[in-house]
Amino acid sequence: MRAMLKGIAASDGIVCGQVYRLVEPNLTVQQRAITNLDYELNRFHQALEAAVSDVETIKTRATKNLGTDSAQVFSAHIAMLQDPELITAVETQIRQRKINAEAALAAVAQTYEASFQDLTDNPYMQERITDLHDVTKRVTAHLLQVALPDLALVNHPVIVVTHDLIPSDTVSVNPRYILGFVTDLGGRTSHSSILARSMAIPAVVGTQHATDQLTNGEMVILNGTRGQVMVDPDDDELASAQAAMHERAANLKRLSRLRHHGTVSRDGVGVTLAANIGTANDLPSVLQNGAEAIGLMRTEFLYMDADQLPSEDDQFATYKRVLTAMAPRPVVIRTLDIGGDKPLPYLKQKPETNPFMGARAIRQSLTHQQIFRSQLRALLRASAFGNLRIMFPMIATLDEFRQAKAIYDDERSKLTVAQVPMGSIKIGMMVEVPAAALLADRFAQEVDFMSIGTNDLIGYTMAADRTNQDVAYLYQPYHPAILRLVNRVIAAAHGAGIPVAMCGEMAGDPIAVPLLLGMGLDEFSMGAGSILKTRRLIGQLSAHDLQALVETTLNQASTSQEVITMVQAAVPGILT
């Protein structure tokens, strides 16, 4: 091998394949004098055509994955590439100034940008400038004969290497062609890792230099379980990687026998293992991994991957697809959780000094009711097609829950009057704000179910921003303070006779699972790739015996390390 890159193990599995760098090439344009006018004009038109063909492909893929409305932005890009005024302006520059097409295009784009910038009172103009940049970049790349990478254009299996994976990168992807992900940035709970796990694709994140060190087409072995990337392996290394892949495949095959089984502990306690998903594209891996429910469908990606709000109909189509595929199994859909690290450019949210504590999730929904109501209507209409549960995120006070519920009731009664068919829907809350966890017994009197969102609950309890690498050490799921909160929520829910789930990363963690089972958690929701392993683990555990472990841990542990030691002593042979 040439080198070994180390990063964070973000999503399990070993794969070998060729590198596809999702990194923007150098598109610096040099102005040159030209002599052959026809040649230059022809070059410009060929680049335009190639760019249109790229965008058509991306649009088709986006329409398939996201629906017509979300793909609309690409129609605007095509219209720009075919704009007669823009084309004439570039041609004129080439003819009159006798300069190369790249430089002519850059000059024309700059003129348009300046005229757009004059319209500062129009909130859409900043996005149009972004569109113009995207379009110019694509044509320039073709003129410079460098490829402008885009996952929608990948047509053979590759390992994607990128600075940081963002949701919009993955929506246009054909999952068959993506073997794995390697990123420079990110940690185990960053969005790139969550995306990879929900797609059940091996990933190594936080390598810092992968994009600098790897070249296109180079062979690598990605080990998402160990967090390693082996560059340019020799035959022996390839052979041993292949052996590891076979062993893993055999292991997965053994596990896959558990696909159609329920999840029952050794002493006969049944629990539900559910999957977390981000888009309807995650459904195949949910079904392959034998999920008994969807415990969390995030809806942000529907909103983040478009340049305007998704229509009620587009949302309805997505929700219906998920509900139909899962029926009669339950599907918990979380209403919009934007803000924080997930802003929406077209909403013109005010910049906040502390967005994680700002107007995000339900706070945003209650102040922007139009968006919230349109989402609720789409959900209500889709409820006729399966077993829907709606969950409100970031509830801190009972008043917030009551307001959200009242808006739901209002939309429901309007649709009832209009005789729209609807199913019965359970309404629950996400417990991720420490205040709600502490007051869970009061909330439990009013909600139909609770789901503990550990990523944010840990963040808010430890007062640590999960996107900040410097405080990543504070992300401690086994910290006794977190365990006490979780135990309190489970006990409160059961006291009121309602079910309680967990939908954070912790629910599939082998150290946490014995504790959660001992506490009596009803549903464990996780990335699809962790479901079968967790089902096997739970089958080896006795829920009753673990109650003693829970008791000791809650009463005697002072640190995360002590918790780990206690779990390992009680459940020998558990993986860490």
């Binding site: 932005v73 129609s75 704009d83 129009n122 103009m125 149009r128 569109d131 113009l132």
Partner: protein, 88 residues
């Protein structure tokens, strides 16, 4: 030559989506189609032109069609404005 005035009622004005559809509608015809707003006039077959006007809510715009299929072009543009909820 045909000329018609429209009052833009949509809250967001003529933003990207309707601009694209207007351009697509106009481009189907041979006639010259232009959009006039305040003192500026642009080619309605040019999305950059349409967007550079930044037509907002309550704007009064004038559409002009000129050519062998000017009547059909006007009908198509008016229908798009109506269908996209831009104007009554």
């Amino acid at each position: 030559m045909e000329k018609r005035e429209f009052h833009i009622t949509a809250e967001t004005g003529i933003h990207a989506r309707p601009a694209t559809l207007l351009v697509q509608a106009a481009s189907k015809f041979n006639s010259e189609v232009s959009l006039q707003y305040q003192d500026k006039s642009v080619n309605l077959k040019s999305i950059m032109g349409v967007m550079s006007l930044g037509v907002g809510q309550n704007a009064e715009i004038t559409i002009t069609t000129d050519g062998d299929d000017e009547a059909d072009a006007m009908t198509a543009v008016a229908e798009t404005l109506k269908k996209e909820g831009l104007s009554d």
